[in-house]
Amino acid sequence: MPPKIHTEKLSAWYGPKRAIEDITLDFEEHAVSAIIGPSGCGKSTLIRCLNRMHETIPKARAEGKVLLNDEDVYALPAVTVRRRIGMVFQKANPFPTMSIYENVAAGLRLNGVRDRDKLDVAVLESLKQAALWDEVKDSLDKSGASLSGGQQQRLCIARALAVRPEVLLMDEPCSALDPIATAKIEDLIFDLRKDYTVVIVTHNMQQAARVADTTAFLYLGKLIETAGTRELFERPKETLTESYITGRFG
């Protein structure tokens, strides 16, 4: 089966500084792929190149190919790409002036969907998929900021899912959360793989071990090794990988 996303010799620069180098990597459909590595290794840059979010940073550029279902992501309009490849960020950031309902509906509304029924259905389904519906169904018009950290992050996940992307990118989604909130989100990621392809960047190796089917290890902008998660954590092939995951770096 062809991979959902295929990158071919992908490199990216911020101004003169190269952040990732010649990364060739596949992300399988309906699977969770994790990207691990020390700070500054290029993990965030890599996933931003997948939905062209790196373009929002001045002086950023990328070379190489990114294929979504064999379509060249850089040949499509950026706006289309981002609708098909959604993203959740490290710090939960619901839109401050909008209610919970409006937050989840924002992606659709701001893309021109006006039909109230359609929006209602989308909000309901997305909040259910994000395991948040039961907690907020009676307070949909409260501000997004009235929720706890973990709930806010699930709200952001619902918001991203509402536009029905094919892929969901997650940039360290749990790093600001306590263990219980983290566990809830990890459970939900586990369920998401039925309908979506998930790519999660994490600096917490145990998290990668818990949720991901495949794990890729990046170091100083290069792809060192990628394998099934169990394989990578039981018997990594590269010494560098072993040093990193056993915590003996530096």
Binding site: M205, Q206, A209, F233, E234, R235, P236, T241, E242, I245, T246, G247, R248, F249, G250
Partner: protein, 241 residues
């Protein structure tokens, strides 16, 4: 950096674990050597020493189990650390068993000693098998201590040899009992000795296989089975697999 501090504790734990494992292995090997020595020379003094050794082996095994569980709980080890710890956990069972068989052999020595008549039968073959067995135990324990996977890669073949010897000796012992060149009681005891030696060799094989896994991540039985399946595919009801 917090990571480095955590590793220090893990490293310390792993060092302690390794020390204990080496001690345990040495005790087990010593036990089996003494047991076989006592058996072949009908020396009841040496036999009694083995009982003490077996106790020590058991106690140390419990401590090592405790250490392994602690390391897993506290440090969530992965890769080589994980393999080392789980291998240690498994090997202690084999080493403990070896110690137990050493004790059983020593009990037989004591029983032989109180027998009215010393058996006159030539038990050279048993001595031979005992040498092989000790050699296997020595090799696999050495491989563990030195983390050397190569020296035990062929341990399964050596075990085949020991199994063959066991079968031959068994047939021989039965024959001797039947044609009265060996009294039934001693014959029965020697059958037990034969059995114990073969079992000890099996445990040495287990240790060897686990050492290969610990060092390389390869679990040979699974790989061999997969190879065999490839070479001799099971016939299926339709088409080729």
């Amino acid at each position: 950096m917090p990571q480095a501090a955590e590793r220090k504790a893990l490293e310390k734990g792993l060092r302690k674990l390794n020390e204990n494992m080496v001690t345990l292995a040495e005790l087990s090997e010593l036990a089996i050597r003494k047991a076989i020595d006592g058996l072949t020379r009908f020396d009841t003094e040496v036999a009694r020493e083995v009982f003490t050794l077996d106790q020590e082996v058991y106690g140390l095994q419990l401590e090592i189990e405790r250490t392994c569980i602690d390391l897993i709980a506290l440090h969530a080890p992965v890769a080589r650390d994980l393999r080392t710890i789980t291998t240690s956990l498994k090997i202690t069972t084999d080493l403990d068993r070896i110690g137990r068989y050493a004790k059983d052999l020593s009990e037989l020595t004591l029983q032989f000693g109180s027998a009215q008549a010393r058996p006159r039968a030539d038990i050279a073959r048993i001595r031979d098998m005992a040498d092989h067995t000790i050699h296997m135990v020595d090799t696999s324990i050495d491989a563990f201590v030195k983390r050397d996977a190569e020296s035990v890669r062929n341990i399964m073949e050596v075990d085949d040899e020991v199994d063959r010897m066991h079968d031959e000796i068994f047939i021989d012992l039965v024959r001797r009992i039947e044609d009265r060149t060996l009294d039934t009681e001693s014959g029965a005891r020697y059958i037990l000795v034969n059995r114990y030696l073969e079992r000890i060799a099996d445990h040495a094989v287990n240790i060897g296989l686990r050492v290969v896994y610990m060092v390389t991540g390869d679990w040979l039985p699974r790989i061999r089975a997969a190879d065999r399946a490839k070479r001799y595919p099971k016939p299926t009801s339709g088409g080729t697999p």
